[in-house]
Symmetry: C2
Subunit: 224 residues, 2 copies
DNA sequence: CCAAAAGTGTTTCACGTACACCCATGC
DNA sequence: GCATGGGTGTACGTGAAACACTTTTGG
């Protein structure tokens, strides 16, 4: 009895620039779907964990490393891959677009960011995977402070607000937002302000990871 | 290059009786860990989806069918199984203990319910899988009306309250609970009451699935 | 001095929370 | 008639939501 299946890992990488929420796609240089834009990913090797596969493929195919990564869902429909029975464990990642540069490499012709509402046609069930990832991101950003992963280390409150507005796709009141986020005491106010802006420079803040973990221990729940 | 891996599905089945939250375990009749209590599960067959595997294994090993089932997480550590590289896609299920009878069958010596705070030693990483499942159940029960899956179709408000108290492991105020749950208008009040109780009989209710879907469309969010 | 975004408080309303007694029924 | 759980209302406080003007800076 041969029960062995092919297992891949695919990654939905979200990035934020000043304008929009984007996804990182690679142009496949291998069959099937050679030449098409697709989610980065590849086969799990016998000696590596699923998460290791995700990190390795991201680095190999797009040059990204040290990113926030979390398992999303596992897709195992019988006919999802023309090569045969392939189960894929999907992950999603969050990166700050400004601080990471991407570059195509192994098995990939090209790697590029696409606006989430202007995606090319995706192969396999990658569109479905993307949809699940976006839904997860929208839900999770409200009750876990993962949004900071999309921003540079030092950011302004307005940048933070924009992030939530873009991910949640809804307007947020400035005063209420500031009141709430500051009242959580998760942001460290820096003695620095923006530079090179053509108006009053905004104060910079940092997310205080340590403090968050302490508060969480005590039963605190992040909630936007 | 041989990239094929073994893939299994394991299920954490939660059940509720009048006293406690329980988990369904099976006594393995095959190596490895023959004779030990473990989560029900087995290999994914080439022609079946992951969910189909879960349903099939549940039926074969425990006799359960028509249960609420949802994917939990995929565990793929390299050394999690002594047989070699085995990735397992874990599911969790919710059943009403009174309305389903279980019976051991294929590859299984025995099947039985265990109190969640008195589990036997589990093989593989099944304890870790159970922990993730319990955590998920506790979290999800608060923002999705899945708790009803643990009750009979017709239930009293007190039963419903007990369910939440057991799953969340905390006391809940009776009047506030009733006010809140009834204000959602998700329960259909029946013209029936409990029978065979040695005190005033409580009114029976049913969860109104259709209404829930309608409200959800309009942006309603269940929240306890 | 003008444009652009930063920064800041108050009022209102809804909802969560705390809390105790009478009622119906079976034995 | 007594034991057992069923069923009900109010007061209080906290936090969410709505809302507009002044300040700072660069060009």
């Amino acid at each position: 009895m041969n029960n062995k299946l092919l297992v891949t890992v695919d990654c939905v990488v979200f990035g934020l620039d000043e304008q929009e929420l984007k996804v990182l796609l690679i142009e496949r240089d291998l069959e099937p779907f050679k030449g098409q834009w697709a989610l980065p990913g590849g086969f799990v090797r016998p000696g590596e964990s699923l998460e290791q596969t995700a990190f390795r493929e991201l680095q190999e195919e797009t040059g990204l490393k040290d990113v926030f990564l979390e398992q999303l869902y596992t897709f195992g429909d019988v006919a999802r891959d023309p090569r045969g029975r392939v189960v894929t464990v999907a992950y999603y990642a969050l990166v700050n677009l400004g601080e990471h540069t991407i570059q195509a490499a192994t098995d990939v012709k090209n790697a590029a960011w696409f606006s989430i509402d202007d995606l090319p046609k995706l192969p396999f069930d990658h569109l479905q995977i993307f949809d699940v990832a976006l839904k997860r991101l929208k839900a999770k950003v409200r009750y876990e402070p993962i949004g900071f992963e999309l921003l540079p280390e030092k950011f302004t409150l307005t940048q933070l607000q924009r992030l939530y507005e873009k991910v949640l796709d809804m307007p947020i009141d400035k005063r209420n937002f500031r009141k709430k986020i500051l009242s959580m005491e998760l942001l460290k106010e820096l003695n620095e302000v923006e530079v090179d802006v053509a108006h009053r420079a905004a104060r910079l803040y940092k997310f205080d990871e340590t403090k968050y973990r302490q508060l969480k221990e005590k039963g605190f729940n992040f909630e936007l």
